[in-house]
Symmetry: C2
Subunit: 169 residues, 2 copies
């Protein structure tokens, strides 16, 4: 026997994992921006700063692989960071196509000042849960993001991107 199609309710939206992920991302960005409003820095810009600090002389394409950003999107992000004088772009001697990224003094100062605020924001996002639930959620989310890595259009390629990044500049 064929059963009738279920009636459409708002549950088709509210209980969908995709809706919850979008909503949580919205909330996370709100909290981040609020905590860091003194610095006019977005979550994406922060991730880029941390990565350039950790890997001085990285180029834009590798950076995009290390933080799982689209290469085109990252172009604009880099532009904004450069116009705020937080990073510098210098042509590579080895490869004329490449531009190497470094933090400026100002960029390093901003990064070190903003890190405690970012930490506060991260804590706030999970605050409403009980400590054990925070741990459980983080564990499941880390696992799911890792297992779904290839499903995203811009998979994380941390090791691949960095294995050729020696002490060269």
């Amino acid at each position: 026997m064929l059963s009738k199609p279920a009636p459409v309710t708002m549950d088709a939206v509210y209980t969908a994992p995709g809706y919850l992920f979008r909503r949580m991302q919205q909330i996370a960005v709100s909290i981040f921006v609020e905590e860091c409003k003194a610095f006019d820095l977005t979550p994406v810009q922060y991730a880029a700063l941390v990565t350039i600090h950790t890997h001085p002389g990285i180029d834009a394409t590798r950076l995009s692989a290390v933080i799982a950003f689209d290469r085109s999107t990252l172009g604009n992000v880099i532009e904004r960071l450069e116009s705020k004088a937080l990073i510098e772009r210098k042509p590579s001697r080895d490869d004329k196509r490449v531009k190497l990224l470094h933090l400026t003094k100002s960029g390093a100062a901003v990064l070190s000042d903003i890190m405690p605020l970012v930490e506060r924001a991260q804590v706030r996002m999970l605050q409403p849960l009980k400590p054990a639930d925070r741990k459980a959620l983080l564990r499941l989310l880390t696992q799911l993001v890792d297992l779904n890595n290839e499903a995203s259009r811009v998979p994380l390629r941390a090791e691949d991107a960095l294995e050729h990044l020696g002490k060269a500049g």
Copy 2:
């Protein structure tokens, strides 16, 4: 004694809940678009269609509250749905400021055709986890989104938005 500041590593990015939420949202959108590519419909457009179907004659402002979207963003979404002839906008008799939203026949057909594909996408997002872990993650995420509702710039206001939406048109 003052302790030295911890050295900055990529963990400042990778283990932050905010990074994991952004990454998971990225993955979720990728999977949605891939499953639904036959229909050229985005997750946001889908949520709008479901809501307009469930609440015919809703206006844009209430719609934004029901799915927790920014009102300005929603304006563009509605425009696109209208230009694809999936919805209609009609002026209200009661309030000259308001435009009421309804699905077209084509919109209703698309919605009913796309729902199984959306369901498949939602399943795929959690597929890599063990069934018990899927349930646990959904439960924690639902709880966290609910408890953090006010932290977002556009809180969900389902009941408020709908309590005045009677049979009027």
